[in-house]
C-alpha cells in the first residue's frame, strides 16, 4: 500500500515536472516568437548636414540612443570612455557623463537626462527623451524630437507639402513639396500609401485632408517608426508619377497598360521584399520610362485592372550610390573609433542629396549598417537600370580623392546573345565610365581637391553593365579628422554631383 502511494506520488511529481518543462519550453518559444516579431525601432534624424537613421534600444523600460553615433555626422566628434565616466567632445563642446547618473555636465552646465546614462562596450547611451535638452547644448541650435514616431529634426529643417485636386480634373491629386522627395509607394485595394523615410516631411495643419472628389475622397498624414506616411483613399487604382525635380507627385487613375507595366517591373525590380530585407532603400513610384512589360502582362492587367494588393512600383533611378562595406565588413579601420563603413554611408547620404538637388533621382544601396555582398550590390545596381553607378570608399593613406574605373579580369565567358558575362559585364561601358570619372575629376580640381584617376581590380565595378566608377576619399592633408568634416564631405559630394550632372546627357536619358 505504502509503495503504491509512493509510486503514485512519484508519477505525480514526474507528471508535474513534465508539465513544467513543457510549459517553460512553450513560454520560451512564445517569448522568442514575440521578440522576433517585434520590429526594430529606429530614430530618423533630419539635419542640414545629413539625413540618417539609428536604432533605438530598449533599456530598463526606456528608449535609449547612442549619443556619439547620433552626433557623429553633425561635426567633429570624439568620445573617451573612462568608466564610470564618459566624455564627449562635439565641435569643441565638452559633455561629461557618468554611468547610472541621470544628470550630465555640458560645458559645466548641469543637464537633466530624465533617466540614467548607460555605457555599453564604450558606447554612451542616453534616454531618447533627453535629446531635446542635450542637442541644443552640443549643436547650438534647436532640435525637435517626435519621440513617439522616432523622428528628430535638427535645426529649422522641414519639408512641407500641399495636396490639391486640379479644378479641371477631379480624378487627379497633385502633391507639391518644398524640397525633392523620394518616397516608396505601395497600393492596396482602396488605398495608396507613400512612405517618406528619409525626408523631413512635416504634418499639414490637419492630419486628414478632404478633397471633395469621388475618385480620391481624402488623404491622411501619419508618422511611425522613423517615417512619415501619406495614405490616400481612392475608389480606383492609382498611379503615381514624379516631376523631374522630385518636388511634385501626381496621382492619377491607372490605365490598364500602365498598371501592367508597374506590376511587371515590381516582380523583378529592386523594390521586392528581398531587397528591403537587404537594406536597400529608396524605392519610389514608377516613372513613365519604366521597362516595357511583356504582352502577357498587359493582357492580364487588362482583364484585372485593379492594382494587385500591396504592389509597390519602382521609380527609375538615374544614379545608384553604393556605400561600400557595412555590417560585419567594417572596411578600413581609419582610426580606433572610425570605420570606413561609417564614413561611406554618411558620404552616400550627402551625395544623394546633392544629386537629387540637381534633379538626378538617386538610389542609395545600404542606407543602414546592413551586410550586402558584392554580388548583391551588382545585382541591385543592374536591375535598377540606372545610368551611372558610384561606389564610395574612404581611406586614411594619401590625400585627396582617387577615382577608379574597372580593371577587367582576364577572359571571362563570352557574352551570349542578350546575356553578358558576369565577370566582364562592364566591358562595353568602360568608355562611359572613364568619361564619368574624367568629368568628376574636372569638377574636383575646380574645388582645389587633389584627384587621381586609376583602374582597379575592385568589385563590383566589373559586374556593372552601365557606367561605373568608385570614389575613394582620403583626407585633404595628413589630418585624418578632416575625413569626417561636413565641409570637406560637402565639397567632394558637390563636385561629384556636378561631374555626373555635367555628362548626364552622355550617360543616358534621364527618367
Amino acid at each position: 500500500m505504502h509503495s503504491n502511494r509512493s509510486r503514485i506520488s512519484g508519477h505525480a511529481i514526474r507528471g508535474s515536472r513534465s508539465i513544467g518543462v513543457a510549459a517553460g519550453t512553450l513560454l520560451f518559444f512564445a517569448v522568442l516568437l514575440v521578440s522576433a516579431a517585434a520590429p526594430e525601432r529606429h530614430l530618423s534624424i533630419y539635419s542640414s548636414a545629413a539625413n540618417y537613421s539609428l536604432p533605438i534600444v530598449r533599456r530598463e523600460g526606456r528608449d535609449y540612443i547612442g549619443l556619439l553615433e547620433l552626433l557623429d555626422p553633425q561635426g567633429t566628434v570624439s568620445a573617451k570612455s573612462e568608466p564610470p565616466r564618459w566624455r564627449l567632445h562635439c565641435n569643441n563642446i565638452l559633455g561629461d557623463f557618468t554611468v547610472d547618473k541621470s544628470h550630465a555636465l555640458i560645458q559645466g552646465r548641469d543637464i537633466d537626462l530624465s533617466g540614467k546614462f548607460l555605457l555599453e562596450n564604450g558606447h554612451g547611451l542616453v534616454p531618447l527623451s533627453s535629446l531635446n535638452a542635450l542637442l541644443p547644448r552640443f549643436l547650438g541650435g534647436p532640435a525637435t524630437l517626435h519621440e513617439e514616431s522616432g523622428r528628430l529634426f535638427i535645426g529649422s529643417i522641414a519639408t512641407h507639402f500641399t495636396a490639391t485636386v486640379p479644378p479641371d480634373d477631379a480624378s487627379h491629386l497633385v502633391f507639391r513639396f518644398t524640397a525633392p522627395v523620394n518616397p516608396s509607394v505601395a497600393s492596396e485595394p482602396g488605398k495608396l500609401r507613400m512612405t517618406f523615410s528619409r525626408e523631413p516631411l512635416t504634418a499639414p495643419a490637419s492630419p486628414t485632408l478632404t478633397f471633395g472628389s469621388k475618385t480620391i475622397p481624402s488623404a491622411t498624414y501619419s508618422e511611425n517608426n522613423g517615417a512619415a506616411e501619406i495614405t490616400v483613399t481612392t475608389t480606383v487604382p492609382l498611379m503615381a508619377s514624379f516631376s523631374p525635380d522630385g518636388r511634385t507627385i501626381t496621382l492619377a487613375p491607372a490605365k490598364s497598360q500602365t498598371t501592367a507595366i508597374a506590376t511587371g517591373v515590381t516582380g523583378s525590380g529592386v523594390t521586392g521584399p528581398g531587397v528591403t530585407a537587404s537594406g536597400v532603400t529608396g524605392s519610389g513610384p514608377a516613372a513613365t520610362s519604366a521597362p516595357a512589360a511583356t504582352p502577357a502582362q498587359n493582357t492580364t492587367a487588362a482583364q484585372s485592372p485593379a492594382a494587385s494588393p500591396s504592389a509597390s512600383v519602382p521609380r527609375r533611378y538615374f544614379a545608384v550610390v553604393d556605400a561600400s562595406h557595412g555590417g560585419n565588413d567594417r572596411g578600413e579601420a581609419l582610426s580606433t573609433t572610425l570605420a570606413e563603413k561609417d564614413v561611406t554611408v554618411a558620404f552616400a547620404r550627402r551625395l544623394r542629396q546633392e544629386l537629387e538637388n540637381r534633379g538626378i533621382p538617386t538610389l542609395v544601396l545600404r542606407d543602414s549598417d546592413a551586410n550586402l555582398s558584392l554580388d548583391e550590390r551588382a545585382f541591385f545596381a543592374n536591375t535598377t537600370h540606372a545610368a551611372v553607378y558610384v561606389a564610395l570608399h574612404a581611406a586614411s593613406n594619401g590625400h585627396g580623392v582617387r577615382l577608379y574605373t574597372a580593371l577587367l579580369p582576364y577572359g571571362g565567358e563570352e557574352d551570349r546573345g542578350p546575356f553578358r558575362s558576369w565577370t566582364t559585364a562592364q566591358q562595353s561601358s568602360i568608355p562611359l565610365s572613364q568619361a564619368a570619372a574624367a568629368s568628376v575629376a574636372v569638377e574636383l580640381r575646380k574645388q582645389q581637391v587633389s584627384v587621381r584617376i586609376l583602374t582597379a581590380p575592385l568589385r563590383p565595378l566589373n559586374n556593372i553593365v552601365t557606367a561605373a566608377l568608385a570614389v575613394e576619399v582620403a583626407p585633404p592633408a595628413s589630418d585624418l579628422s578632416q575625413l569626417t568634416s561636413p565641409d570637406y564631405q560637402q565639397v567632394i559630394a558637390s563636385a561629384v554631383a556636378n561631374g555626373i550632372a555635367a555628362i548626364r546627357g552622355q550617360l543616358g536619358d534621364a527618367p
Binding site: A333, H393, G398, L408, Y410, L454, L458
Partner: protein, 203 residues
C-alpha cells in the same frame, strides 16, 4: 533460489592493469601534446630567407611607395636558381624582403611570405601567399592595388610568357586581399601593365 555468478580474480587483476595502462597513456599523451604545442606557439613567423647561392642576376622590381602612391621600377642584383618556378619564387621573395625591411616604403605585415609560385602553361602564374600576408595587410583600394600590381608586374617583367595571374592565400581562393582588391578572378597581365603605367605617374 538465487545463483550468484562467480567472476575469477584473475579477470579483476587484468582489468585493473588495463585501466591503469590506459590512464598512464592518457597522461603521457596529454604531456606530449603540451610539449608539442609549446614551441609552435612561439615559432618564428619571419619569412624564410632564400637559401639560394650562386651567380646573381640583375632583375627589375616594381616597388610600391605608399607616401605618394606610386610604383617605381628598381634594379636589383639577386641570386636566382635556374629552374623557372624557383626563379619566380625567389624574385617575389626578394621583393617582399624590401617590404619587410624597417625602412619599407610599403610595409607588409611581419611574417608575410610567398608560399609558392606555380607556372602553368600556357601563360598562367599562380602566386600563393601565406595567411599572415593577407590577414595583416593594410586595407584600402590603393594600398591593396599597389601590392597586387607590384607582385604581378615584378613577376611578369622578369619571367617572360605570363599572360594571367591568380593569387591564392594559403592555397585557397579568397574574395579580396584586405577588403578591396579582388582576388576571385584571374588578373590580366596586359591590364596590369597599363595599371602600372598609371601607378608610375606621380600625382
Amino acid at each position: 533460489m538465487i545463483r550468484e555468478t562467480m567472476i575469477p580474480r584473475s579477470f579483476f587483476i587484468a582489468l585493473s592493469v588495463l585501466l591503469l595502462a590506459v590512464l598512464s597513456m592518457s597522461i603521457y599523451a596529454w604531456y606530449m601534446r603540451g610539449r608539442a604545442a609549446g614551441p609552435l606557439a612561439s615559432s618564428d613567423t619571419r619569412p624564410v630567407v632564400p637559401l639560394v647561392a650562386g651567380p646573381t642576376e640583375r632583375v627589375t622590381l616594381f616597388v610600391a611607395y605608399d607616401d605618394v602612391g606610386v610604383l617605381h621600377a628598381q634594379s636589383a642584383q639577386i641570386p636566382l636558381p635556374s629552374v623557372r618556378q624557383q626563379r619566380a619564387e625567389e624574385l617575389l621573395r626578394a621583393l617582399l624582403a624590401l617590404y619587410l625591411d624597417k625602412s619599407s616604403p610599403h610595409p607588409l605585415p611581419q611574417g608575410s611570405d610567398i608560399r609558392s609560385v606555380y607556372l602553368v602553361d600556357p601563360g598562367l602564374a599562380v602566386i600563393d601567399i601565406n595567411a599572415a600576408f593577407a590577414d595583416g595587410h593594410r586595407s584600402g583600394v590603393l594600398s591593396e592595388e599597389l601590392t597586387v600590381a607590384s607582385l604581378i608586374q615584378t613577376l611578369s617583367a622578369n619571367i617572360p610568357g605570363i599572360l594571367k595571374v591568380k593569387i591564392l592565400v594559403e592555397g585557397k581562393e579568397r574574395e579580396t586581399l584586405a577588403g578591396h582588391a579582388d582576388l576571385s578572378n584571374f588578373f590580366d597581365v596586359s591590364a596590369v601593365n597599363q595599371l602600372t603605367a598609371q601607378l608610375q605617374a606621380a600625382l
